[in-house]
Every structure is written in structure tokens, then in C-alpha cells.
């Protein structure tokens, strides 16, 4: 597999892996949780690096995902105390965890090589640099297989627990009354989100991770309210957006993750304007008839 193809494949798989759980996050009105988790995993990554030494190790991803889960649990605890109102609980914990991460990085702890730049925007090209080779044949970037595993995990989880996710997302009270363990499913799901964000972090950085998770789902939600078509549309948008974003970045020699986030955002705006205009046309037709 050539280098460019490898990078494109990695971008595609990362976009898909993020987009799937993003649908449920958006519908649960917890979209900004991705912003919190994507920053909170930093200290986990730095400490994991101390022990494991490789960014693409599954152990490191699990360890860092636990820090991400910490922010989920902490935020929900703060909400439950009722002491902090609005969306403020979300903004209280992740800056502290991110600060600890930055301080650890700044101390160049035990030769942890983690560029501040990578933290922010990731580096798709760097992540795709080491190829997996069998004999003389390159099978593409090694990290591609890490993201592929995460994607499969997400798809498997959503398929297996589709009904449960659906009912807990749209009607948590009903789910609770039906004797359903809403909390257990919720934490399993949030742990999966945390794993996904951590894995995507290296390839995409914290900002693109937010874009990849939420924007495709939000764009699809402009068009449909029903879950199955929304999931399919989200996946399609993730693929098209990743290709267009990567192409734009490549053509303009721009930063990959920044350009991809921007392209995803633009796509949302286009769909928003288009749906509004078609709604206006339909309304005026209805009036004239």
C-alpha cells in the first residue's frame, strides 16, 4: 500500500470509528462531552507512555481511556450534587486534567516525546508513517489496524445493544421503569467513547476528534430524525467528509486535521442552508395551492 493510500485509509477508518458513537452522543445531548474527554485523556496518555513507551499500544489506549472515563464519572457526579448548574460541570474537570498532562509533558518526564502540536491537531501523516509489512508486502500503516479494531468494536457494540441504546437514548425514563440497567449500559458506552477518542487522538488530535464525532451525526440529524437512516447517513457523511477534507488539505498543503474539521463544518452549513431552503419552498407551495 502506498503512503498516500495508507493515510487516506487511516483518515477514513478514523472518521467512521468516531462517527458511529457520535450519533448517540448527539441524541443524548452530550455532544460537548467529547471536548471534555478528548482533553482529559492527555495525562493518561503521558503516564501510559512512561510505562509502555509506544503511542499505538492497546494498553496505553486502555489506560488513557480510563482517564477519559474519570471525567465522565466526575462530571456526572458534579451534576448529581446539584451544586453546579447548567453545563458548568463539564468545564470544571477537563481543564485540570489537561493541565496535569501539559505539566507532565513540559517536564520532559522520562523522555516522553510528545509534541504539544501533536496534542492539539494530531498528525495523520505521522500516525500513518510506520507500515505493517509482511515479507516485502506493505499492508498499510500499522495504526490503521488499531483504528480498524476500534471501528469494529464500535460497530459490534452498537449492533449488539441497538435496542437498548435506542430506548435509553430516546426514553431513559421508560428504560429505567422497564427494569433496565440504564447506568451500566451508559458507562459501557461512555468507556467505548473514551477508547475511541484516545485512539483517534494520535491520528487526529483533540479538535478533529470532536469534529469527527459530532459533525457527521449533527449533519445527518438535520435531515432525519429516525435512528437507522441517521446512522447510515452519518457513516456516509463521515466517508465523504474525510475524503473531501483530506483532498482539500492535500491540495492546499494545509494541516490535515484542521482542514478536515473545517470541511466537515462547511458541509454542515451547506446541508443546513439546503434543508432550510427546501422547507421554505415547500411552505410557500403549500400556501399557494
Amino acid at each position: 500500500m502506498s503512503f498516500v493510500v495508507g493515510v487516506v485509509a487511516l483518515a477514513l477508518v478514523t472518521a467512521l470509528a468516531c462517527a458511529v458513537p457520535g450519533v448517540f452522543l448527539l441524541l443524548r445531548k452530550d455532544a460537548m462531552m467529547t471536548e471534555a474527554v478528548s482533553h482529559a485523556v492527555l495525562p493518561g496518555i503521558v503516564i501510559g507512555l512512561l510505562f509502555v513507551g509506544a503511542l499505538d499500544s492497546p494498553f496505553l489506549i486502555l489506560a488513557a481511556a480510563l482517564t477519559g472515563l474519570l471525567v465522565v464519572l466526575g462530571t456526572e457526579y458534579l451534576r448529581s450534587t446539584g451544586l453546579v448548574e447548567g453545563d458548568a460541570p463539564l468545564g470544571l474537570l477537563f481543564p485540570a486534567l489537561f493541565s496535569i498532562g501539559i505539566i507532565l509533558v513540559s517536564q520532559r518526564f522520562a523522555n516522553v516525546h510528545l509534541d504539544e502540536h501533536v496534542v492539539l491537531v494530531g498528525d495523520l501523516n505521522l500516525a500513518a508513517f510506520i507500515h505493517l509489512e509482511v515479507g516485502d508486502v506493505s499492508l498499510g500503516p500499522r495504526y490503521l489496524y488499531v483504528m480498524l479494531a476500534v471501528l469494529l468494536l464500535n460497530v459490534a457494540f452498537v449492533t449488539r445493544f441497538f435496542k437498548e441504546l435506542q430506548v435509553t437514548t430516546f426514553d431513559p425514563d421508560f428504560a429505567q421503569l422497564s427494569g433496565f440497567s440504564v447506568r451500566r449500559l451508559h458507562y459501557a458506552f461512555m468507556f467505548l467513547v473514551s477508547i475511541t477518542i484516545t485512539a483517534a487522538f494520535y491520528a487526529a488530535g483533540s479538535i478533529l476528534t470532536v469534529a469527527l464525532m459530532i459533525v457527521p451525526a449533527a449533519t445527518a440529524h438535520l435531515v432525519t430524525k429516525r435512528l437507522p437512516p441517521m446512522l447510515a447517513l452519518t457513516a456516509a457523511i463521515a466517508v465523504v467528509g474525510a475524503l473531501a477534507g483530506f483532498g482539500a488539505a492535500y491540495a492546499l498543503d494545509a494541516a490535515t486535521s484542521g482542514a478536515m474539521a473545517f470541511v466537515f463544518g462547511l458541509g454542515f452549513v451547506v446541508v443546513l442552508v439546503a434543508t432550510r431552503m427546501s422547507a421554505a419552498v415547500r411552505a410557500s407551495r403549500a400556501l399557494t395551492v
Partner: protein, 312 residues
Amino acid sequence: MSALPALLDLLGDHTVRTVLLGASVVGFVAGALGSFAYLRRQSMMGDVVSHAALLGIAAAFIAASLVTGSGHHTLALLLGASLAGVLSILFATAVVKHSRITMDGAMAVSLALFFGGGLTLMRVIQTGPFAQRTGLNVYIFGRAAAITRADLQLIALFALVALAFMLLNWKVFKLYSFDSVLSELVGFRGRTVEPLLQATIVLAVVIGLKVVGLILMIAFVVAPASAARQWTRSLEGMVLLSGLFGASAAVVGTLISVVAGDVPTGPVIVLVLTAIVAVSLLAAPRRGLVARALRRRRQRLDLMRLAPQVPR
């Protein structure tokens, strides 16, 4: 050498004094105005604004370079940042108004669009024919030590404008924050008040970028207000206390970072802010978690005494 002369020695240092002054002004203004974001229940908007500011900074840099030959006009950069910040809020509110997307999703989309655009423009600046293109990264991660006297003057100017705005519109902002429906009925149109209030908050956010960086700026908006809310029930008290929390965290954090040497200032300030929040949540009278636990215990004991026949 004992602690006090060492401290005085530090305060004699010109750079340290500049940083302390800049950071505490930022802490005070962001803390004070963060109270309004808190009451509007939209604290995370501060995060969107601080990220969106990068697009404005980069665009202003390019515009200033094209017009004057150099992009480093801090006033232009701050004005660009403010404009982009206001636009990011308007975008998120427009999305909520015109679609079924809720505010959290709209904020995430706004963040992706504006910050993605900002990063793309930063890359354009890096590769383009611009003189003195380095130095803009300061706004991303923040570097308090890089604050100059000119920065300080601009920080003070923006801070004064923001505070004056807040005081002049005090009654309107207060009514609107607590009861936007009543505010509308009395004649203050939400369409006018909302952008005014948001723009005031944006002014407070953009001056903090160079001090703590755009990623951590959210802490200055959320933490002091969340802490202050535990101690007071009036808006006046909350705004004042929140400002004081922000300013004192900035001072303590800066001093710790200077004394410790090689530790970045922004993250240390954030950790101090977090500690203030933790103490407030635990120890505040009546509301605090400790007071609450003690009260529950006492009530349980009282109940036992009243009804001894109830099996335990």
C-alpha cells in the same frame, strides 16, 4: 533566605510584575463575566469562543500583513479574535434556532468550523510569504511570561471596556440572566441584550488567550463562577467573589510557576482554580457537601430519637 524577602525580591522583578498584573486582571474580568455565562447555563460557550478566536487572530494577522507589511499588531489581533468569538456564538445560536440540533451539538459544530478554519489559516501563515510569522502559537498554549508592556495596556483597555459595559447594563444583564421572559416583557429585547452580553463575555475571553492559552481559557470562565456560586446568593456578591477568585488564582498560580521554575504558568493557574472550586464545593456553609452530610446525619439521629420503636 526566608520566604518574605524572597517574595519581595520576586515582586521587584519587572517581568514578574507585568505577568502578575496581566494575569490577575484577566482572572478578575473573566471570573466576573463568567458569572453571567454560568447563570445563562452556557458556560461551555466560553470554550467555543476561545477556540474560535484563533480564526480571528489568524485572519487579522493576514489582513494586517497585507495592509501594513507586518501582522503583529496586537490590537488588530484582539479585535479579530473578538469578532470571530462573537460570530461563533451567533452561529451556534442560529443553528439551534433553525434546526433540531440542541445547544451542545451546535457548540461542537461551531468549534469544529471555527477552530478548524483557524488551524487551516495558521498553516497558510506558516507556509505563505509573511514576515515575522512566528509567535502566533502563543495564543494556543499561552505563555504568560511573553506578556509585554504593550500587551498589558491592551489587556487593561479591553478589561475596562468589558467592566464598564457590565456596570452600565447591570440591571438589564441581571434581569435577562435570571428571567429572560420577564426581561422581554419589560421591554429589553432578547435580540439586543443577548449579543451585548455575549460580546462583553467575549472581550474578557480574548484578553486571556496569551496568558493561559485558548485551550485552558474555559477554566477562567467556569471555575471562579462555580466556586463563587457556593458562597453567595446575590448576583452582586457572585460577580465580585468570582472576580476575586479568578484574580487570586492567577496571582498564586503565577507565583508558584515562577518559584518552581520550569513549569508553564497557565496549567498551574488552572490547578489553583480547581482547588478553589473543590474547597468551595466541600466547605461552603449550608450548600457545601460537608455541611450537607452533617445535616443529614443530624436529621437521621433526630428521627431515631423521635421514633425509637422503628426497628433499625
